[in-house]
Symmetry: D2
Subunit: 154 residues, 4 copies
């Protein structure tokens, strides 16, 4: 799985990915930040918020899943040409520990970049002082669409 060897089709992939991230209003609402954008890899960071928790006071699994899904989606987008948009076909996420942390990192990478479909995996880590704990593991399928069609249909 030499995910570091991916060559981006669009040399300006980082600015394109960052624009797409900002265009998602949900990201600002949830306090997500796009920390790192590389060819085939993306990291999203966010902080614990009391208004996004489940019944035990930890971050809600759906919020963790949103970060994981988005990290996969934007990882896939880094390798697409500039006339393409990315949509999530599906993802599967395992929750490995309660999402108890001051801050969180969702890290994803492309495992296979195909003409139509991209396969990614990644993890979400909770940060407590010095220590990082994996809280979720994700595997996702993304599809590349013409930018003009992306809002119409999948």
């Amino acid at each position: 799985m030499n995910q570091n060897l991916f060559k981006p089709r669009d040399p300006n992939f980082e600015s394109r990915v960052r624009e797409s991230f900002v265009a998602q209003s949900a990201m600002a609402t949830l306090g997500f930040e796009l920390a790192r954008v590389e060819a085939g890899q993306v990291e999203i960071q966010f902080s614990h918020r009391d208004d996004l928790t489940q019944q035990h006071g930890f971050m809600h699994g759906g919020i963790i899943a949103t970060a994981a899904d988005n990290a996969c989606g934007f990882s896939a987008l880094t390798l697409m040409s500039s006339d393409k948009a990315v949509l999530s076909v599906e993802f599967k996420i395992n929750f490995m520990a309660p999402a108890r942390g001051d801050r969180f990192r969702a890290v994803a990478r492309v495992v296979k970049s195909g003409a139509t479909l991209t396969i990614c995996n990644g993890e979400v880590l909770a940060i407590n002082e010095e220590k990082e704990t994996p809280v979720a593991l994700v595997q996702a399928t993304l599809i590349s669409l013409d930018s003009k069609r992306a809002g119409i249909q999948n």
Copy 2:
């Protein structure tokens, strides 16, 4: 798959499920409402919000997944005894159409209720005037834990 035949272990399951739902601060923050609670079935409803969208102006897939995950979790909880808590082990979600709607329904049901694990599936539907469109399909695994341990470990 006679999911209608499930007998709840706790006759007061509805009030217990509704209390647990309210205890999740994320639900109020996202505008989710627990519309229907039956033995082995739960429905969550929510409205489109411009601050929870992706780059094409539709509801973000992560928000759709949060609703689907939670509908599965609370469906599982309806069949557990009163000293148990539910945690998501994992879920898998397919996105079938853009989440374009005025309002949404996430409907889930228990397929298998085991001593430790519960398997659920469900769908999220977008409502536009009279018409409903399926936008996501979910399959999930939940675990039953002693209420006292639920915040500690999975």
Copy 3:
């Protein structure tokens, strides 16, 4: 999920699906039979075999998964036009009970038939005398390819 309303693009879908099934040598090797082929629905049947078991003497989960995956794939194929081939993009399967039975049925149906991607779900049931027990639940994504390209790439 009105899976019964699907209109096949190819009126001769059944013979096409049956030819494709026979062309899979693994089906004969594993003793799988294509019991039922309808527009958007397929059923595969097979018998317990002592040489396909896991360590407790029940049918191996991988064999159950093979039946579930194939039932999804051929369900998707029933709705494709005659110049298309189907490939599995991915599937997710939950095992709900030991695969203890004299005979088994894998039943799958199309939930969403898109231009490129098809989403299916289904279950595998163990048959013991009169009684049927669900042993697995599956959700799958299939892709439609030009027949000529299907052996080359996905």
Copy 4:
């Protein structure tokens, strides 16, 4: 994900895992071999067989999934104590390329080893002369049961 740091609870895990593998009649029938057994990691190898193919002459996805599922299951078992058995709760597999090869390797590793549940991921690689091609990516949930109960229920 320091999967190399796992400490086995049973120092004799390798012989126990190898015995369990041999006890699965399906492994011999499919020609699977347990090539490598380490604490938290397992590799299964097998050869192309014309009687286990799909319609284009490549190894059937179900056979690939069987190898992936089993590699995950036995990886989980390496870290369990000697009175425990392992069962697959569920797995999700992405197919990344046609399973075209002379020989195949299914490699899996434990990502999280919990008291009850174990999370694994892995891949299946096709070997052609010198070259290896990833053909599938898997993520799985396993459950640890008392050996005496494992054949009864999950």
